[in-house]
Symmetry: C2
């Protein structure tokens, strides 16, 4: 996998809710070193704690690969992110507000540092190397405990200062409402919601959405309904994407995508019912797996290098 | 109003459902000649009939303004449009399918001709010269008999081959449904739908949405409910835009916008109720009026000229 034409290595950091992945990636896109540590959590210095870990990992790579000095880096994080100004605006889960990751990481590492959103970076990697290579209008949806997404329009990621692609909080019809009430997608369509709604209605605590799908296959009508509610909600939100940004391809990742065609097939047919004259988007499973965010971050780091800047037209415009 | 730095005049044609407007626009953005003719309708040669009128109007301008020869032109039309390839894909109202307007107009006029969507062109003119100058993420919504829209993300119009911004066909909760049913925005939120729904429920034929608003102000509870349903539906679709593309500003044009704050104020407050942590977009009335489409077409025509191409970074990427 070739990530760029420049000759230097870059550092990529993908900060998740559970772990922080770091990679040293050479000019051919080979991940020379890959490390995974528990994401540091410090309520009093949430952002600085992340950067302590980033700095330590960078030092370890420098010691281990002295022949591959990093020339640039990229850090991607969850939450609301303004990649244009390098600021992590808000992470409910990890606890920072308006933390200038880009500038501070650059000071600590002594390198140019790109900064962005984890799912956006994963989406860009999927867009560039993964399944939907033939399309320029893509939605990547990561469905797990929550729902994160990225929107690529006319070949470029839509950023809107970090406020785009907040699909998890988009409105959907509320299946528990008698009238035409609504709730948010994450409350019905996420893996977390599927397990939670079944447990609440059945009075049986379940480990996860996978169990609900298993029960549905075994003829449990409540499980089948909860699963169908999730599919309906996901399809409803995708229909909005089709109408607003003309989505041609949908890439589904995250824990719920492990259901494979058990999720994708009903999703396709429900979306088909909801749409009118609009194009039906191709719906496929994410291809790059757990390292997509890291690969996307490496792409962004490489885009900071002079050779890549001169050669490439694939980076974001901003 | 300065439309560009080039020194030549351009031709702009805005094809509407009722009339076809044509303008000869000089390098300073002055409309030297403005003509309006009934939109030609010919079921057997829908696209060619439009071009007959375009060619005739161009000849009239050439005769009337011999000192201002046009160096480029742009034609904008309603329906589904692929501006990248110059094709009018579909217009239910005017009757063409897959008609190569761009290529044929260029042959007839002997000029480079840009081709695009009428509302997109109006939106670009509003973006460049009208109200929302401070924003880069804008939705322009033209609410009349139907609903047309344009989406500008990160400063660029989202095209998706003509399939973006089909807000009129986006799903909204159906106010006439007992359960959590849905319908499309145009069926509840358009001026046409407001008049139609009131007439159907009250058994009184009304001329238009304006009368429904008047009745609501006079204490007619059915009229107030129909108006509120429309506001709810418009706010619901705008909430989807906010969640999907991070909309910062909404520009409302078309007949319904003539209600002014009678529409915009409840729309703001309903959207505020629907949103959670997201940014509240500024909601304002379109500023450029009836000529916005023509001005947008003139901008696109001017962008074809070599001087404009060299100087400008405001055109679409594609």
């Amino acid at each position: 996998m070739v990530l760029g034409a420049a000759e230097s290595a870059v550092l990529a950091f993908d900060v998740g809710g559970t772990d922080l992945k770091a990679g040293l990636v050479d000019a051919s896109g080979n991940i020379l070193g890959l490390r995974r540590v528990a994401t540091p959590r410090d309520p009093l210095r949430a952002g600085e704690a992340i950067l302590d870990a980033v700095e330590a990992l960078a030092s370890e790579f420098a010691a281990e690969f002295p022949g591959h000095p990093a020339k640039a880096a990229c850090l991607v994080v969850p939450g609301i992110v303004d990649s244009d100004i390098g600021v992590g605006i808000y992470s409910a889960n990890l606890g920072w507000r308006n933390f200038p990751f880009g500038e501070k990481a650059s000071q600590r590492l002594g390198l140019p540092v790109a900064f962005g959103h984890d799912v956006s970076a994963a989406a860009e990697a999927e867009f560039r190397f993964g399944a939907p290579r033939d399309f320029r209008n893509i939605v990547v949806m990561v469905v797990g405990t929550g729902i994160a997404a990225a929107v690529i329009s006319d070949g470029y990621p839509v950023r809107a200062g970090g406020f785009a692609a907040e699909l998890g909080h988009a409105l959907v019809p509320d299946p528990d409402s008698d009238s035409s009430g609504h709730t948010i997608l994450e409350a019905v369509g996420s893996a977390g919601a599927i397990a939670r709604r079944y447990s609440a209605k059945a009075g049986i605590p379940l480990a996860g959405a996978r169990e609900v799908l298993e029960r549905a296959k075994d003829g449990d009508t409540l499980a089948a309904r909860i699963w169908a509610d999730a599919v309906d909600a996901l399809a409803f939100s995708l229909s909005q994407c089709v109408s607003i940004v003309g989505t041609e391809a949908v890439v589904v990742g995250g824990g719920l995508a492990e259901a494979g065609e058990g999720l994708l097939q009903p999703l396709r047919s429900r979306l088909d019912e909801l749409l009118d004259f609009q194009r039906r988007p191709v719906i496929m499973r994410a291809q790059l797996g757990q390292d997509a965010g890291l690969l996307g971050a490496a792409m962004r780091a490489r885009a900071l290098l002079p050779a890549a800047k001169a050669a490439s037209g694939t980076q974001a415009r901003s």
